[in-house]
Amino acid sequence: MDSKELIARRVALELRDRTLVNLGIGLPTLVARYVPQGISVAFQSENGIIGFGAPPPTGMEDPHLTDAGGGFISALPGAASFDSGVSFALIRGGHLDMTVLGGLQVDVAGHLANWMVPGKLVPGMGGAMDLVVGAKRVIVAMQHAAKGQAKIVASLSLPATSTRRVSLIVTELAVIEPTEEGLLLRERAPGVSVDEIIAQTGAKLLIIGDVPEMPIVVAERDVA
């Protein structure tokens, strides 16, 4: 299992029955593959649909039916489509239970930066700022470090996405909960020691007692 799959399988355990969830482009999209058995989740894509599923067979795609990354999707029975105003009223208005987003950095206060690297990469914030402000829970799903550089840092060197404290950080090494007191190390990945996590983290971690191993969703479902 590669690190992205491990992260997606752990994030999937945060899904709750009968909730509305938005998955960011990239790694977060993988979470839809691991919805736990017995749980029904409605996924929103911010370009204007709730209830989308796997892409149609090749050659049967609908050019009017895509996800936020421009990839073809299908609409499941019971799906709803709407304009961008409605989509962001859902997001900003407290109607979205959870969002899973990628991250470039998270600091000790739980602040996320995920929309630009000045002078290098300026993709734009898209819907990320609205998602972080509006979703009831914000989960950051990202690699623990990038090219030897810690992504969990004492203070952001990149422009923040929001001043909101995110709810949870899931990496291939650890699950970390930003709290008022700081970053609480909740779980460690299978076979990873607390010392290894500390070594790859650029901010102080709060460690209380034994840190349990991270559980993950084992079964894969035949969905998006």
Binding site: N47, L65, T66, S81, D83, S84, S87, F88, D130
Partner: protein, 217 residues
């Protein structure tokens, strides 16, 4: 309305330097035939307002490629390296706007509001130069309305009265922009007789639309 116009006639209405709102999300739900005609006309100096700049060679990306665009007010340019290159070279001035804020600024512009108060962007670089207003203990940014000289829409069906429907995720910003252009031009997939779209099915009342693009011949 007397008749539907061609995409080339629509492009001829849009002068160099105009501000142009366009529907579309990564090119889905964009007025592609009008874009092709704008490129063919060789328009210059346009300010484009929309969600993103799609991909090179796709949707509004064609206007970027062809050098029609001087400024872009969008939420995302990450899928179009040509936009990024031209931004860095100083050829296109890019203003990045959070997606939900962009939608509400357009809605405000089109519905006669003086702006909207949003918590999105508070405490970030987006707040620069904007008024911070506290309401019931929470901080909001005052975001001002957006209007444009033209709104270029992609619809699914249009009837002879220009009532419009949209399909699935091709809807995106189109219905909002129908209110915010001084001149609204709609490019439908299908044109149907009056009465085919039931009143409840109309997403954009035809009264908002100035020009309809004719069927492809």
């Amino acid at each position: 309305m007397q008749r539907a116009i061609s995409a080339a006639e629509a492009a001829a209405l849009i002068p160099d330097g105009a501000s142009v709102m366009f529907g579309g999300f990564m090119g889905v739900g964009s007025p592609d035939r009008v874009f092709d005609a704008i490129v063919a006309r060789g328009a210059r100096g346009l300010t484009i307002i929309g969600n993103d700049t799609a991909f090179p060679g796709v949707g509004v990306g064609k206007l970027i490629d062809a050098g029609c665009v001087a400024a872009a007010k969008v939420s995302h340019i990450g899928t179009n390296p040509v936009t990024q290159k031209k931004m860095i070279a100083g050829e296109i001035a890019v203003e990045l706007i959070p997606q939900g804020t962009l939608a509400e600024r357009i809605r405000a512009g089109g519905s006669g509001l003086g702006g909207v108060l949003t918590p999105t962007g508070v405490g970030t670089v987006v707040e620069k130069g904007k008024r911070l207003i506290e309401v019931d203990g929470r901080d909001y940014l005052l975001e001002l309305p957006l209007l444009a000289d033209f709104a270029l829409l992609r619809a699914h069906e249009a009837d002879y009265n220009c009532n419009l429907t949209y399909r699935l995720t091709a809807t995106n910003f189109n219905p909002l922009m129908a209110f915010a252009g001084a001149c609204v031009i709609a490019e439908p997939d299908e044109i149907v007789p009056v009465g085919v779209i039931p009143p409840d099915g109309v997403r954009t009342p035809g009264i908002l639309v100035h020009h309809l693009i004719e069927r492809p011949r």
